[in-house]
């Protein structure tokens, strides 16, 4: 059953080799709806409006209101209804407009989706996909900009995906739907307009492993999601200084790809973890702790972290930029691990 979904999600129409992250998300949704009649999309304004970020534009016309369902502003009820529909044999894709709004559904995600399988002694699997926008960079201030995916990565029972490339945006949804357990997909709002290449069949794209986005020998920059472009930018700047940085995209925050983290540390012996979440109690803290546990003797320098400033995200452009992990800070941290001080 799961294999057939994955197989069926290969493209039925030729897709352009280069597209935007937004178009890739839409192509993934369309392919999923075409492939399996159990799949449906629901959320706030996913239908007639076309999606708050225009991701689902056109899908209502193609698939109708039964399978592209506009919901009231009732995050807890429609996420919970997604859980119930999954228990009832469907394969729901629930869209929550932003991660900040997902807190209104946290009861359903934490107390139901993540726990039902265990609490029922293995009876109640919940094959549900929840997509939501995360992250800052668009001057949306303190109730639309946070990066809380690290919180969700704390919870056993769910899988947390953070597609950072156009290719991942296109191809991670299929295996997420084939997964018998709840999968949360975080789409960084700053990425929707990014362009990139889409592979023709998604071969090699899974929902388990991290990916090396740029190889390097001197320092590893470990990141995910919206900060990947900034890390790649930092790597270019570091190369100008003669420092070859390896950029690792975690892709999956739960379960973390420990082998990939160990491997990059073994290659470079120096690490900078970059996370748009706040530093305290963050996924960056988790990665750093695992490096200490698993790769302590490989390290030639203390692990550095570059995270968001510990403030609710401010509105003003210059303040927001100052709060976010950006290339200059990443470069400086990498330099410290390589040259000290």
């Amino acid at each position: 059953m799961t294999a057939s979904i994955a197989a069926a999600l290969s493209p039925d129409v030729a897709e352009p080799a280069t597209t935007t992250y937004r178009e890739a998300c839409r192509a993934a949704l369309r392919a999923a709806l075409l492939a399996d009649e159990r799949v449906f999309l629901m959320g706030e304004d996913v239908g007639r409006y076309g999606g708050c970020f225009a991701v689902s534009k056109g899908l209502l016309d193609e698939f109708g209101p039964e399978r592209v369902r506009d919901t009231p502003l009732s995050e807890s009820a429609f996420v919970g209804a997604g859980i119930g529909a999954a228990l009832g044999g469907l394969r729901p894709i629930v869209e929550i407009m932003t991660v900040n709004f997902s807190l209104l559904a946290l009861d359903q995600i934490m107390n139901n989706a993540a726990t039902l399988l265990h609490m029922s002694g293995g009876q109640c699997a919940v094959p549900l996909v929840i997509r939501m926008t995360t992250g800052a960079g668009r001057q949306l201030a303190a109730q639309h900009s946070h990066s809380l995916e690290g919180w969700y990565a704390h919870i056993p029972g769910i899988r947390v995906l953070t597609p950072a490339t156009v290719d991942d945006a296109r191809w991670m949804l299929g295996p997420a739907l084939a997964d018998p357990d709840p999968v949360l997909i975080f789409e960084h709002g700053s990425l929707y307009n990014a362009s990139g290449v889409v592979s023709p069949d998604g071969s090699g794209i899974d929902i388990a492993r991290a990916a090396v986005r740029r190889p390097g020998r001197d320092v590893s920059i470990v990141t995910y999601g919206g900060t990947l472009p900034h890390c790649l930018d930092a790597a270019v700047r570091l190369a100008d200084e003669g420092i070859e940085a390896e950029v690792v995209d975690l892709r999956v925050l739960r379960p973390l790809d420990d082998a990939a983290i160990r491997a990059t540390v073994a290659r470079t012996h120096r690490v900078v973890v970059v996370d748009e979440g706040w530093r305290s109690g963050s996924i960056s803290a988790e990665v750093s702790a695992r490096i200490m546990e698993q790769s302590f003797w490989e390290l030639d320098a203390p692990v550095e972290r570059v995270c968001s400033a510990e403030v609710p995200m401010p509105y003003a452009r210059h303040l927001e930029e100052a709060a976010l992990p950006r290339a200059p800070a990443i470069v400086a941290a990498a330099r410290r691990t390589v040259r000290g001080g």
Partner: protein, 327 residues
Amino acid sequence: MTTGLGIDAVHGEHLLREMLRIRRFEERCVELYSETKIRGFMHLYIGEEAVAVGAMQALTADDAVVATYREHGHALARGLPAAEIMAEMFGKAEGSSRGRGGSMHIFDVGRRFYGGNAIVGGALPLAVGLALADALAGRPRVTACFFGEGAVAEGEFHESLNLAALWNLPVLFCCENNLYAMGTRLERAESEVDLTLKAAAYEMPAWPVDGMDVLAVERAAGAAASSVRAGAGPHFLELRTYRFRAHSMYDPELYRTKAEVEEWKERDPIGGFVARLGAERLVDDARVAAIEAEIAAELDAAIAFAEAGTEEPVEDLERFVYSEGVR
């Protein structure tokens, strides 16, 4: 042959037996709790048996049941073996949830019994989703969702009733109004205490029902379930009842008087039903004694099953966090 009660002897005996099974099961649970065989939170349904038993008569095996943490009665009335429920409360691998859930989390997906949910109001959205799956598949099923009147104060109650009504979904909302949300009496929590008005505000049929009268519950649930099944959308029953025991085993009951409890006990759903059956000559004392003996034997066997049950190996601690055999 039916009687003035509108039921025959076989059915009358069935209803009585089901209510008695719940009461005697829970009385045994209290003893076992004192013996520390059962631990954790345990919430007793004693006094409310007519609600689960009456409502369950309206459901078929294909229908779904979603219940709360006070669900021993619903599980028994739904047909879960007493032995598996008891083993679950003993924390044994043979329990209905393999000892992972306990008293508050009884599940049996084969019987479409979806818990055993212990966040007040948190299971209403699940019921809406189960009904949505049935509606999209064109299956003429009902999802019966039980919850206490305390849930009415939760946002999830309102979101769920609205969504079910908006999408015309086949949910039978069964609100068990036992007047107290733990220790908070309805009047201290709600500006409007007629709960049917809240449901009616979402444009669904909503009826108050005497929850101490199993026949009244059966009639109301039967009519509501038929209507739901026929495509008339969600219905709401406010089942007015009372719990005779404390909220849980840790509750000193400082919030209500003994006189009030005694007053409600005069409306005992079991005692009253036995009297009505007797008056109609549908059962006699000997028959009731025989039923009691059969239930006692069933419960003896259930407890023996739980005692003899095995413990899940600690090596299996992290099982059932993710599905097995798929990756």
